[in-house]
Symmetry: C2
């Protein structure tokens, strides 16, 4: 299941960035499960990774390689991604395996191994089938092309039901620049730094420190505001590449702001695409908490609501069981909450006020909102000026089926 049509708009190629997708037969024979991305020399790279202490071997290797490339003043030239196996919970041999994949890419292309960043997604705790991957690398190189974003978007999927890709173009300093990106992820989704896997490339020319700053802010407003099941993956990685091939130099504050706005819109669209394709999803829900004293209490309430199994099953049932939302707000840990001041809406229908059901509320109104595939749960804490928004989905039989049968 998934929410909305998921129909993709046109993905514009990014000068200086090529993608090659092939099959390494890792989990499902014949499935495209290996994606190589090639960055033009001189590209700047920014990245954010999972906050999970058990971060996967490829995440550790990618961090090391980014540091080594920075020290050597060389740039990252390849990203190599496999699905079907996360190479996580694999200890020392997992690190060795991830490095072997990088060396294979480096050997084939004549770059240094530290100029290659590895990414893996799939089942945790199984050894990576390195030989299958290294054997398939030549065909990934053969497939490299500027206009193959869609194949790559499909090649990185796991339990996803559809590819996720977004593209924006804007004029900066008289030059047209493009930002294109793809993402994957459907379960184990509560990113902490980044979602499972996302790759974004632009032909703008942005200095590396600036690029990392802009990415950090965009991620905070997008990938760090989604949850399917509250489980932060071991492999979350997001990479932003700026090839500079457009020769549009983003340095003036006004240009940076325009670029950041466009990047944030790409990140939000990719993050929301993950939620709409969340495991078993039949609803796409925006949770908006206003009137909080600070960011923390708004986010605490928003995530408590978004991750409550009771709220999520009511959403699945299209049941306007607002009492469950009220109960979750009450346990979300907001100190000295004046419960009589709290108001709750489903879209624009006021549901609860003064500690109980709103006088104006009718079940028919609530049902009308609930029957929609997409709507908002709005909560006003009425004690401050902070407002925060996150996105989530429901909890359905299909979530159980997908995750009870994942390894079989």
């Amino acid at each position: 299941m998934a929410v909305g049509s998921g129909k993709l708009a046109e993905i514009f190629p990014v000068a200086g960035f090529r993608l090659g997708t092939t099959s390494a037969d890792i989990k499902t024979p014949g499935r495209n499960d290996l994606v190589l991305m090639e960055l033009a020399a001189g590209s700047a790279v920014a990245a954010v990774f999972t906050g999970n202490a058990f971060c996967a071997a490829p995440v550790q290797v990618a961090k090391n390689h980014l540091a080594a490339a920075g020290q050597a003043d060389e740039c990252i030239r390849y990203l190599i991604t496999n699905t079907g196996n996360a190479n996580a919970g694999t200890g020392a041999s997992g690190l060795h395996d991830a490095l072997t994949v990088c060396k294979s890419v480096a050997g084939f292309s004549g770059v240094e191994p530290f100029q290659v960043l590895p990414f893996s997604t799939g089942v945790i705790g199984e050894p990576l089938l390195v030989d299958k991957i290294t054997e398939a690398i030549p065909s990934a190189f053969e497939a490299l092309d500027n206009n193959t974003w869609l194949e790559a978007a499909e090649g990185i999927l796991t339990t996803d039901t559809r590819p996720k890709a977004v593209s924006r173009q804007l004029k900066l300093g008289g030059k047209l620049i493009t930002i294109s990106g793809i993402s994957k992820g459907a379960g184990m989704i509560k990113p902490n730094m980044a979602t499972m896997l996302a790759y974004i490339a632009t032909d703008a020319c942005v200095e590396q420190t600036q690029l990392q700053d802009v990415l950090g802010r965009a991620v905070e407003k997008s990938f760090n505001r989604i949850t399917v099941d509250g489980d932060t993956s071991t492999n979350d990685s997001l990479v932003l590449v700026a090839t500079g091939a457009s020769e549009a130099f983003i340095m003036a504050q006004a240009d940076i702001e325009l670029f950041e706005e466009a990047l944030e819109s790409v990140c939000v669209a990719l993050a929301q695409a993950i939620i709409k394709d969340g495991e078993g999803a039949t609803k796409f829900i925006e949770v908006i908490v206003s009137g909080g004293i600070d960011y923390k209490e708004c986010m605490d309430v928003a995530y408590a609501v978004a991750e409550s199994p009771l709220v999520k099953t009511a959403l699945f049932a299209s049941d306007p069981n607002w009492g469950r939302v009220l109960a979750v707000v009450g346990r979300a840990g907001v100190p000295n909450l004046a419960v009589d001041d709290v108001k709750i809406w489903f879209d624009d229908v006021l549901i609860a006020e003064q500690g109980g059901r709103a006088l104006s509320y009718t079940e028919v109104q609530g049902q009308r909102v609930m029957d929609q595939e997409e709507f908002a749960i709005k909560i006003d804490l009425a004690r401050g000026d902070c407002t925060e928004t996150i996105w989530t989905t429901d909890l359905s039989y299909d979530y159980i089926r997908i995750n009870a049968e994942y390894r079989t």
Copy 2:
């Protein structure tokens, strides 16, 4: 579904404590849904209530009445419980309704309204059908008896599939004392102060302050260590009554310790009975986190594992997908966790060490543990001396069915 046979052992009557169960036709016509409990004059009462800010009207009234009784130096004489409606999220009219029920019990028996504590459980946000309850109160009085614990245990149930009752006897100061208790709860279970509803009575004679202290410690080791879905109810209430009818005075430190030990064992059994009957439960899982620096980090890891939808669906599938446990430990927020030192067992089978699968581990071993209805997930953080244990269950299709269909 539920775990284990749920067969009840003998429930010993408690002198000075009578229970009367009847039907008020609140939700399901003819179902026994109203339970009255009568305490002998001079009984001491200790209670703990939900930590949810949106605590239900009966919880607020019960707290007020306990305070008023203490000030007037009078004792609580009646507990009145309805199921089918939680009288939560009902604002000012809910408070009025709860008080009306107390007044009706008081009027019938000639005590003050503040000597009556009200309790409700069921759907949140619907007005309480007060008239149905007050009309049924006379028949609840008629049913009062010393030996009707089982009927009461059945009368307080909601989505539970079976009654929960435990009884212990011990000799103190040459006198036999009895502790008997009942509980209910299957969903919206992560008690914070107490579980949804539990009533325990003893004929021991314990001073009120002492009784509250002992209860607080016993609850911390039992009801505050269970979770079905991480959702803390608005109505959680636990009441412990000491009638003193045995004339066994519990004052010496050694007696207090023996009494506390027996009370804790009653509380643990009642709390575990709730988990075994958790909504859709097919497994009963003990999560033991050892080697923590302090209580907080052990409990953070234990609850993160116990509430992870991915771990819970793997448990439902009897799938030894230990990678999900490892991933949850990594995101549980333990600062500077040395992941290579962490060890994970299913019962006595070592699953993970040094950041990956244990060399000695085989899938057959893991499957053998997983195929059991009850087992332990043990996690050693290897950084301190603290060990904490909690209990939980799996996440099944039936949890979704029960909670998607609850109001229909």
